[in-house]
Amino acid sequence: MTTPSKDVSFAQASDDVLITLFQNGDQRAFRVLVERYQERIRNLLFSIFHEPDFVDDLSQEVFVKVYEALPGFRFESSLYTWLYRIAVNKSRDELRRRKLRRFFSFQSLDDGTLAELETRMAHPPKDHESADLVAYGLRALPDHQRIVVILKDIEGFSYEEIADILQIEVGTVKSRLSRARTTLKNILGPIIKERIA
């Protein structure tokens, strides 16, 4: 472990150095860590939920959780994957809550999303609409498949890193990702065909 020097610039310090400083009582180090990862976490959550206001609230909760858990961080994984694990777990909790709410209100958001998607797909989308449709398509995926696609194709994690973040086997990551892509490809068929043509 690198011993933090007083001369180390906070902005240039590695994650491990900043964590050590924070664990030794330097609160400034936490701000640097937040500012280093805030946009990635915000965008990860935005990819999952597509609700900007809610994403800001949830991102704050993620960093509050990080602040509480960081004193116990043991450097067994990188801060990067650890941070994503917290964010993904927070997202899962929220998705679970929403599912429960849907259950009790006798509504099915998934059905609604798919129906809307099918209606919109009946007409060829304009360019600026494609992104919306892809986002809709992602939301139509089961939660566990959506998160794998986001971590791989948007965040660019390796299979091993995704397995670490989701605490699952690498083989599971591969099969889950394959199924997710197949499903999404079927949902977004017209757009994909048009672009290839």
Partner: protein, 467 residues
């Protein structure tokens, strides 16, 4: 569009896309893609799909994100502030101490379970027997139906209440008993007393409008309390609140407490003129409100205790009296029933010759009670361990007025400098008023002379003799 590619081929294409295949695997798959149009299309679609997903828009940067996170952190810290009355680090020790106390209390309870069980058994047995043996059966009704403010004041000042004026029956609370007090129901009227009406009382003390309202409230509450203190059951059992002797003193103290010092002097003068058996010594000039005074009427927070007397039994029991329900019954034509019960009860109780005398089980203050019924008089005597001659409410003592002729005897005169001088006292030695003060009030009393008098009854009490 549904894919016709088998799932295992899809996974191979997916892994090829991610660069996860070994060189050999990649060569095999790329060869198949070149030969199989469906596989090639599927792979191209996967490439396009990844491109579409990667091109999804991002959120614009949030320059104030840290500010909001910091605010959220500060808010969380505020919520976690220690609300315990001791440092959070002491929590384990406090929990351990609480555990030890609970275990200790449990052990004590277990070790003393027999005596605790016996105590509760006695309590419940006394009450159960009261009902089972028919001591109080059926609905209870107030004994008095004719109480008004004048009668209430009369009872407060003289301790007597006419039960049946036509037949001359009276209830009398006699607090001069040397070891306790006596409640008597007698056929003969007590010696002629000079009545004091509320109008005369008000004329004498000249209350302000608000004082008048306070005094009326106190008298009304006293009347209700008195109504609830003497009851008659359907089986002619008579239930008398054992704190009845205390109630009249509480009412007198309460009335005095509502008055200004000058009005108190006038009230005392009126008591003397009417030869009331009490004298009032006030050590506080504070004027009290009605609510405070009315609270003092209730002796025990556990509820009243009653001596329940029938023609052939007597008990001391605590039971709850629902006065509202009782008043409801009265308004439903129970007045006649009350009169009937009252007459029957008095006839049976007073005319029967009977005598009971014995210890009271499980009562801390009243170790012994006796009931004598003979010669047209029912007497209930309650012995108290700590018999007091006076009552103390709001630093006002209400004590029996001792006739001057009874003052002969030996005394110890206490000087202001301390110590005491033995001597004798004769009624002829004094001119002016004589106040008898219960012993606890002598300390600190601003009197010229305090004396301890040994009366003929051998009962020790203290005097505040003011010339």
């Amino acid at each position: 569009m549904k894919s016709v590619i088998p799932p295992q081929d899809h996974q191979l294409l997916s892994r090829l896309l991610d660069g996860d295949l070994s060189d050999r695997e990649r060569d095999v798959v790329e060869l198949r893609i070149a030969k199989e149009p469906d596989l090639r299309t599927a792979y191209e679609e996967l490439v396009r799909l990844r491109s579409l997903v990667r091109d999804l828009p991002h959120l614009p940067p949030d320059p104030f994100f840290w500010t909001r996170v910091k605010a959220a952190l500060d808010s969380t810290r505020d919520e976690e502030k220690n609300l315990l009355p001791f440092p959070r680090s002491y929590l384990p020790a406090v929990v351990a101490a609480a555990f030890i106390v609970i275990v200790g209390a449990g052990l004590i309870l277990v070790q003393n379970r027999l005596s605790i069980l016996t105590f509760w058994e006695r309590q419940s047995t006394a009450l159960r027997e009261a009902y089972q043996q028919g001591v109080v059966q059926g609905s209870l009704l107030p004994f008095f139906s004719n109480l008004d403010a004048d009668r209430t004041l009369q009872f407060a000042l003289y301790g007597t209440l006419p039960l049946d004026e036509e037949k001359g029956t009276t209830l009398k609370v006699d607090e001069r008993s040397s070891t306790g007090y006596r409640i008597e129901v007698q056929k003969e009227l007590p010696r002629k007393i000079k009545k004091l009406t509320v109008t005369e009382f008000m004329t004498e003390v000249q209350p302000t409008v608000s004082q008048r309202a306070t005094l009326d409230s106190v008298l009304k509450a006293a009347r209700e309390e008195l109504e609830a203190s003497v009851l008659v059951g359907a089986d002619d059992a008579m239930a008398i609140n054992v704190d009845l002797h205390r109630l009249n003193k509480a009412v007198v103290s309460g009335l005095v407490a509502c008055l200004q010092p000058q009005q108190r002097v006038k009230f005392n003068r009126l008591l003397e003129e009417r030869e009331a058996p009490y004298t009032v010594v006030s050590r506080s000039k504070e004027v009290r409100q009605a609510d405070e005074v009315i609270k003092s009427f209730h002796a025990s927070p556990k509820g009243p205790e009653f001596v329940v007397v029938t023609a052939d039994s007597m008990r001391l029991s605590r039971f709850h009296v629902n006065m509202e329900a009782m008043r409801q019954s009265m308004s439903e034509g129970m007045i006649e029933e009350m009169a009937l019960r009252r007459e029957r009860a008095i006839r049976r109780l007073v005319s029967t010759t009977a005598e009971f005398d014995g210890p009271v089980i499980a009562h801390p203050d009243i170790p012994r009670m006796s009931v004598t019924s003979r010669k047209d008089r029912l007497t209930i005597e309650l012995t108290q361990d700590s018999a007091t001659d006076g009552a103390f409410f709001f630093n006002i003592s209400v004590a029996p007025r001792i006739p001057v002729e009874e003052l002969d005897g030996a005394f110890e005169q206490r000087s202001r400098e301390g110590g005491s001088i033995p001597g004798t006292v004769r009624s002829g030695d004094f001119r002016g008023r004589v106040y008898v003060a219960p012993s606890p009030t002598v300390k600190g009393m601003r009197s010229d002379t305090a004396a301890k008098l040994d009366r003929k009854s051998r009962k020790p009490f203290k005097l505040d003799l003011r010339q």
